[in-house]
Structures are given as structure tokens and as C-alpha cells.
């Protein structure tokens, strides 16, 4: 198999694509935002339940998208559940910088953990938005914005 393909479509991503975690509508949420990727026609709705101590108690999403966007959304939810808003924002920055090539994860320290699996998208400009859609939607939800598009 092509090495670039192996690099991008790793087992973890394929697993999260097939069995996305926290893939459900949330009835009682504190924050909600819709993310659109008009280029793909993809759309996701992200729900957050943030408590008085600014901790993300619960997070879920629904929507349809490619394997990269679905896996990225799923892994984002598992990564930030239980984290504080400040921690989530820090992760967003690292993830964004990694995907756009600003952060070289081999050289610089980061908190991304398993999320570093998405580093391969930086070589595929057309797919960066697929990986970052969930994160931009999260950022928008935290800012109180109802809807974002990646264009």
C-alpha cells in the first residue's frame, strides 16, 4: 500500500470513522454550534455541556462527512471530554497549527497525544479543512457562535 495512504488512513482513524464516539444528539446542552464545509457539502452539529467550573462535562456531535472529518470529530470529543475550556482552547491551537504545518510535532512539545495521528493532512491542503472542521466548530461554540463555515 502507498505510504502516504498508510500515513493518513491509519487504523485508529478508520476505527473512529466506522464507530464514531459520542455520536449522538444531546438533549440538555449549554453550547451548540453548526459547522459547514461547503466545499464537501459536509455539515456537523456539535453539542457541549459546560459546568459552572468551566469544565466540559459532556460533548457529542452528529453529522455526515468524510472519514477524516468524522474521525477527527470523534477523537476530538474523546480528547476534550472532562477538560477545561482553557485546556480545550490550547488543544485547538496545537491541532490547528499541526494541520496547517505551523507546528512541527517532531520538533516541538505539544499536548496532542493520539490526535497527532492527523499530522499527515498538512501535506494534503484540500483535506486540512476536513480535519479541522470539528475544531473550528468547537471554537465557535465556545465563543457562543451558532454557525461557522470553513470557507
Amino acid at each position: 500500500m502507498d505510504t502516504r495512504m498508510k500515513h493518513l488512513y491509519q487504523e485508529l482513524i478508520i476505527d473512529h470513522n466506522k464507530n464514531p464516539r459520542n455520536f449522538r444528539v444531546m438533549e440538555e446542552f449549554s453550547h451548540e454550534s453548526v459547522g459547514n464545509n461547503p466545499l464537501c457539502g459536509d455539515k456537523m452539529i456539535l453539542y457541549l455541556k459546560i459546568n459552572d467550573e468551566n469544565i466540559i462535562e459532556d460533548i457529542s456531535f452528529i453529522g455526515d462527512g468524510c472519514a477524516i472529518s468524522k474521525a477527527s470529530s470523534s477523537m476530538m470529543t474523546t480528547a476534550i471530554k472532562g477538560k477545561s475550556i482553557a485546556q480545550a482552547r490550547a488543544l485547538f491551537k496545537d491541532f490547528h497549527d499541526m494541520s496547517t504545518g505551523k507546528l512541527d510535532i517532531a520538533e516541538h512539545p505539544h499536548q496532542l497525544g493520539k490526535l497527532a495521528i492527523f499530522a499527515g493532512v498538512r501535506d494534503l491542503p484540500a483535506r486540512v479543512k476536513c480535519a479541522t472542521l470539528a475544531w473550528h466548530t468547537l471554537d465557535a461554540a465556545l465563543k457562543g457562535e451558532q454557525e461557522i463555515t470553513t470557507e
Partner: protein, 414 residues
């Protein structure tokens, strides 16, 4: 076998040698270019025209009395005659150079539509149009309170002609339909559409961008009022295209853009006199080299023969369709009986963008997305498709490479 006989007459191997890009590699795989409906590749004969023009006779057109300007003007205007014959127009004056099909439709909407359409007039647009034949009309409709009605399409992707018949009325003023759908490949019956439109006093605006690279086109026989296309989808350069309009329409229309070359005289005292058709619509210095290259592209296609191109491509499409149909979980979107070489498909549970990326890893270039035809996607209830679109330089081996790569996609993500 019939197919082999045809291959024998059509020397695709020697045609491919004219297209240097077809020899390149993507990673360690040979390029399999199946995105021709987005933009086709260019033969050296067309590329050479650019260098010949710039090293031999570059100068502005319709301006100077010096030799270079005369040569550039001659070459530039000769292409108008080539285009006229290429699409069967009655006069060279019916050929307007534009920056492409989109520009041409905007010209029609602004110059014809703004002048002749009135509140309540109806524009019929097919459900399979490219955004280029939707948005300019939508903008005009908003400005002038016009009504846009959508001609539905059947499940297989043909125009619902019964519905079209019912929609036509004395209010219908414009029927905007493509000759060939970029998303489905459907060939539309433009002569019948024009005849029916004319019967109620409407005009037809035919988007021919996907037709001219694949088949004989005769706008006079089809009796369409306007016909538009782009050079870059027919072996020519980007940024250049054609608006064909019946001379009586072009003469009645006011200019679209103002500037040099589209006027006969400009005076602050006595006013401005516009140039004749077609120069009236060609303000500013045009893409001179690009128009000359478009002329070469026409020569190139005519040298091969459009009948031969169409036969070869039909066979290739049939071969590809049969091979693709054998893949489990595939659904071909667009199965009209009359099709040009477009194969749109979806795979169960696999997003078109993942397909596009993985095919690219195999050197196979396809388009994945909505193909600037979102109403088509809505019609079929899908966000996007993957589209393989063929040109006469594609081969059965390339179809095989596509099919093999799709099997890999299924292996990885299925």
C-alpha cells in the same frame, strides 16, 4: 470484436504523445487523468501557438497599422471564422469572444436579460444546471422581480420533457439548459427544447461547455438563441471562451462592459458611438494568444475528427460503465440513454473526498464534490459524488487503473 475494430482506427497511443502531461508521474504512479470535465489537457500544437505568437507577432489587435498588429489581428479574427464553422453558426459576427462559458452567460443575463425581461417573466432552468447557468439568472431575477422555475429531471438523469411542456407558457421568456450535464453526462435534446421554447416566444440559452469537446455541435440546426462554451475544456487555454448569439439578438442588445475596442467614437461633446457586433461586446484587450490557441485546439480536434472522437469516447464510457457496475456497493449517478463521457458515482458508506484522496495516491485524478451543481446533488439526496470524466486521449488501461484503485478504496475504508 466491434470495440477492437474501433480502437484500430483510433490511434490513441500517438494522440497521447501530443500531450506531454500524460507522461508524468504522481508519486511513483503514472498519472491517470480522468478530470476532463473540469479541465482538459493541452496538446503541444496548442502550446506551441503561444510561443509562436509571443516570439513572432505579439502586438495588440485592432489598433496599430504596423505589421505585427496586422498579423495579430488577422490570426485573432481567423479564429472567429474557425469557431463559426466549428459550431455551425451562420456568420462570424455571431461569435463573441469572452473569458469563458460563465462570462458568456453573465453577458447574456446582463445585456439581454436586463434589457428585455420584465417583472413576472419566467426563466426556466433545468435541475441539472451548473451554477454558471443558475446564479447569473438568480441575480437578475432578484433585481428585476423575475420568476425562476426549475425543470425537473428523472431518476436516470434526463430532463422531464412532459413537465417542461406543462411549464411552458406565454410568461416563459428564457429557457436555460445545458447541452451536456457536467455532473451526470446527460445529453439534452437542445433542438427539441429550442423548438418548444420558440413556440411560446421564449429564447434558449444553451451551456455547451461539456458538449463541444465530445461531439458535433450545430447551433443553427438546433436553432438555439445563445450557445456558450470555454476553451479550456476542449484542449485550449483557460480564461477564454465563446458566446454564440443569433445576430438579431446581438444587434438588439446593449453593450455589457465599456472600454476600448467596443466603441467607434468617444467624445465629451458629441457622445459615444458603439462598435458593431461582435466587437461591441469585447471591451479591452482580449486574451489574444489564448484565442489563437483556442483556434489551434479546434484545428486539433477537427484533424482527429469529432465523429471519431465521439465513437471512441462512447466505447470507452461503455467499457468503464460496465466495469464500474461490477463493483459491489457502487451506484452510478446519471444513467441517461444519451450520455457523454462522464461517470459520476457514490460508494456505500464511503465519502467521495476519501475516494478522491485515495485515488490520487494511485495517480488517478478525479473530481469529488458537488461539481458546481448542488441542485443535482439535492435531487439525488447525496452531498457529493466522485466523477470520472474521459477525453479521447484516455484508454481502457486507465479505466482499469481506476477500477483497481476503487477496489483499494473499498479495502481501506469499506
Amino acid at each position: 470484436m466491434f470495440a477492437t475494430q474501433q480502437d484500430h482506427h483510433f490511434d490513441v497511443a500517438s494522440i497521447r504523445k501530443d500531450f506531454p502531461i500524460l507522461a508524468r508521474q504522481i508519486g511513483d504512479k503514472p498519472l491517470v487523468y480522468l478530470d476532463n470535465a473540469a479541465s482538459s489537457q493541452m496538446p503541444v500544437q496548442v502550446m506551441d501557438a503561444f510561443a509562436q505568437y509571443h516570439s513572432g507577432y505579439h502586438s495588440n489587435v485592432h489598433r496599430g497599422v504596423h505589421t505585427l498588429s496586422q498579423e495579430a489581428t488577422d490570426a485573432f479574427e481567423k479564429v472567429r471564422f474557425k469557431v463559426q464553422r466549428f459550431i455551425g453558426a451562420r456568420s462570424e459576427r455571431e461569435i463573441v469572444y469572452t473569458s469563458g462559458a460563465t462570462d458568456s452567460i453573465n453577458l447574456i443575463a446582463q445585456a439581454y436579460g436586463r434589457t428585455f425581461l420584465e417583472k413576472g417573466d419566467e426563466i426556466l432552468i433545468s435541475n441539472m444546471e451548473h451554477h454558471a447557468n443558475i446564479v447569473p439568472w438568480h441575480m437578475l431575477a432578484k433585481e428585476k422581480n423575475l420568476v425562476i422555475r426549475v425543470i425537473p429531471i428523472t431518476d436516470e438523469g434526463t430532463l422531464d420533457m412532459d413537465a417542461f411542456d406543462r411549464m411552458l407558457s406565454k410568461n416563459t421568456k428564457v429557457v436555460a439548459v445545458n447541452h451536456v450535464s457536467n455532473a451526470l453526462g446527460t445529453i439534452n435534446p437542445i433542438a427539441e427544447i429550442s423548438r418548444k421554447a420558440h413556440a411560446v416566444g421564449a429564447i434558449t440559452v444553451i451551456d455547451g461547455a461539456q458538449a463541444v469537446p465530445h461531439m458535433n455541435v450545430n447551433v443553427s440546426e438546433a436553432d438555439c438563441d445563445f450557445y456558450v462554451f470555454s476553451a479550456h475544456k476542449m484542449m485550449g487555454p483557460t480564461g477564454t471562451g465563446v458566446l454564440y448569439g443569433k445576430i438579431e439578438h446581438l444587434e438588439a442588445m446593449p453593450p455589457y462592459r465599456g472600454g476600448g475596442d467596443m466603441i467607434l467614437s468617444v467624445s465629451f461633446d458629441t457622445g459615444i458611438t458603439y462598435n458593431e457586433v461582435p466587437q461591441k461586446f469585447e471591451a479591452g484587450t482580449p486574451g489574444i494568444a489564448q484565442v489563437i490557441m483556442m483556434g489551434k485546439a479546434i484545428d486539433y480536434m477537427l484533424d482527429i475528427g469529432r465523429d471519431k472522437i465521439q465513437l471512441y469516447e462512447n466505447e470507452l464510457l461503455e467499457y468503464a460503465t460496465n466495469r464500474m457496475r461490477q463493483i459491489d456497493g457502487i451506484r452510478i449517478i446519471g444513467t441517461a440513454p444519451q450520455k457523454a463521457s462522464v461517470l459520476s458515482f457514490v460508494l456505500d458508506g464511503i465519502h467521495p473526498h476519501d475516494i478522491g484522496t485515495i485515488l490520487d495516491f494511485h495517480g488517478v485524478a478525479v473530481r469529488s464534490g458537488h461539481h458546481c451543481a448542488q441542485p443535482v446533488m439535492e435531487r439525488y439526496g447525496i452531498p457529493a459524488t466522485t466523477r470520472a470524466s474521459f477525453a479521447f486521449y484516455n484508454t481502457r488501461d486507465e479505466v482499469d487503473a481506476l477500477v483497481k484503485a476503487i477496489h483499494e478504496v473499498k479495502e481501506v475504508l469499506g
